[in-house]
């Protein structure tokens, strides 16, 4: 793993928000290097600055200090190319059908109609959305909408994926389905992924490496390599001793953060 080239380099990153004259330190001293094809999860209690970090990587929020570099180029105030972002909030366009939502990125890039149709059809098949091509998002379940959001992002084949609690609003069962689907998609392409979550089991199931954050202001508390073999079966994985072992180790550290003083 360590031979792979670094893709996202975060150095001494900090963010302070000014809120009605009061300064809120959201993130402090975060340094992480994420390498090619690596699946990294950022875990921490709610409000610890996970989204803020992701937004700084994606160029949506300017850091107060420190830098983010993607492929050696400093991210500054604009959305970097080659990066896909799946938001926590539902950002599927409600006025477009499922098929036209998935096609939108290809449309932006001026991909030919026939090619668009072919790739959308593949994506719909991959996500199990057959029969819903012409449905509007308002008629879909939360899980289906998040599938659309995921496929819409993946269909333009980004090499780097930023995901902010994409499955946070889903029930456990749907969540596990989507974990399996995400892992299958990732096994096929090995994008570089930064996956934010407050759900430790989700992080262990998906990631190669877990960055555990402290409570606000968010700092890196622990970086943990997940020693679970791939490809992983999201259901069976949870019954293994290795999984329990990983969980126990991180839970102990995370528990300190949830419990109060570190």
């Amino acid at each position: 793993m360590s031979e792979r080239r670094p893709r996202i380099v975060i150095r001494d990153l900090a963010k302070t928000f000014r809120e009605g004259g009061r300064e809120v330190a959201a993130v402090q001293d975060v340094s992480v290097t994420i390498r090619e094809q690596e699946f990294v999860a950022i875990v921490g209690p709610s409000g610890c600055g996970k989204s803020t970090i992701l937004n700084m990587i994606g160029g949506l929020v300017a850091p107060s200090a420190g830098t983010v570099e993607i492929d050696g180029v400093r991210v500054a105030g604009r959305v970097p190319g080659n990066v896909g972002y799946v938001f926590q909030k539902d950002t599927v366009f409600p006025w477009r059908t499922v098929a036209r939502n998935i096609a939108i990125g290809l449309e932006y890039r001026g991909v030919a109609r026939t090619e668009q149709a072919r790739r959308v059809r593949d994506a719909i098949a991959l996500a199990g959305l057959e029969g819903f091509e012409e449905a509007f998002p308002a008629t879909l379940s939360g899980g289906m909408r998040q599938r659309v959001a995921l496929m819409r992002t993946l269909v333009v084949e980004p090499e780097i994926l930023l995901m902010d609690e994409p499955f946070g609003a889903l029930d456990t069962h749907t969540k596990l389905d989507l974990h399996a689907e995400l892992l299958a998609l990732w096994e096929a392409r090995h994008q570089t992924v930064v996956f934010v979550t407050h759900d430790l089991s989700e992080a262990i199931t998906l990631a190669d490496r877990i960055v555990v954050m402290t409570r606000r202001p968010g700092r890196v508390k622990l970086v943990h390599d997940v020693a679970l073999p791939r490809p992983r079966d999201v259901i069976k994985l949870r019954e293994t001793d290795d999984y329990a072992h990983e969980y126990g180790r991180i839970w102990h550290v995370l528990g300190e953060e949830f419990a109060g003083r570190a």
Binding site: G58, L60, V79, G81, V83, G84, Y85, F87, K89, T91, F93, P94, W95, R96, T97, I104, G105, E107, Y108, R109, F136, P137, A138, T139, A149, R152, T153, V156
Partner: protein, 273 residues
């Protein structure tokens, strides 16, 4: 609502209309003092009677008059549609631009508020002075009203577009123009549509007020109303009013249809268009 329900409502509506017409015709026929001519409990001189209105309508619709009711209605409808179209497109464009440019909006705000708080009726003489006694003045008057209604709604809509929708479009590779076309416009449209039904009514008001002053060259149903006031002809006035009512309803229904087609993605329109 079931089909039978629908039918029952329709039946009741027709029954009420028939009852009103019969009562109107009957009450305006009863004399207050039986032998004195011209004294009625409810005087048809002021509100006319259905039979008289029908007769006047037939006369105004025939070729015997210089300006038929059809020509007048057409003139009113055309001016209203023009005022509406010009008002909606300019109001929509201005709302989008100012809604997305905070600085520009702050610069223009006092002018917009000041102009909008002018009672539009007060502008009629000035508009007539500038644009003459023709069709143009009516359209301009309708436009000054419709523009602001649509502008304010679109402005709000363009400002309240979810930032994360815009961000996700950017990550998917959208240029500024593509963000405008695929995110801001459709998102603002829902707000704009809310303003279209009042807009068409106000366009009609603007046109009729314009016609009050416009004289025969502008034609229209407003002209018929003013003319009937001159001749104290309640029947003609009723013909004009009923025609305006019908025109208003048809236009509002047409807009509702368009709205259901264009906003069919919204859950409240699901399966209706």
């Amino acid at each position: 609502m079931t089909r039978a329900d629908h039918r029952r409502v329709l039946l009741w509506r027709l029954a009420i209309l028939a009852a009103l017409l019969v009562a109107w015709e009957w009450l305006t026929g009863i004399k207050a003092i039986s032998r004195t001519p011209g004294l009625y409990w409810i005087d048809p001189f002021f509100i006319s009677r259905p039979s008289a209105i029908l007769a006047r309508f037939a006369y105004l619709a025939s070729g015997q008059v210089r300006l038929t009711i059809w020509q007048m209605a057409l003139s009113t409808v055309q001016s209203t549609l023009w005022g509406f179209l010009v008002g909606v497109s300019t109001g929509f464009a201005a709302g989008l631009v100012l809604g997305r440019h905070e600085r520009l909006a702050r610069v223009f705000e006092p002018y917009i508020v000041a102009f909008n708080s002018l009672p539009r009726i007060a502008l009629v003489p000035l508009i007539t002075m500038i644009f003459g006694f023709g069709v143009l003045a009516k359209i301009v008057l309708a436009w000054t009203i419709v523009f602001f209604i649509v502008f304010f709604n679109t402005f709000q809509g363009a400002r309240s577009v979810d930032a994360d929708l815009i961000h996700s479009a950017r990550f998917l590779g959208a240029s500024d123009r593509q963000v405008m076309r695929t995110v801001i416009v459709p998102s603002a449209l829902a707000w704009t549509f809310a303003s279209l039904t009042p807009s068409i009514s106000f366009a009609l008001i603007g046109v009729v007020v314009g016609e009050f002053l416009g004289g025969e060259s502008g034609g229209g149903l407003g002209y018929l109303i003013i003319q009937s006031l001159g001749t104290l002809n309640a029947a003609d006035m009723m013909v004009a009013l009923i025609s305006l009512g019908v025109i208003g309803i048809v236009m509002a229904l047409a807009i509702k249809q368009l709205e259901m087609r264009l906003l069919r993605w919204r859950p409240e329109y699901r399966g209706r268009a």
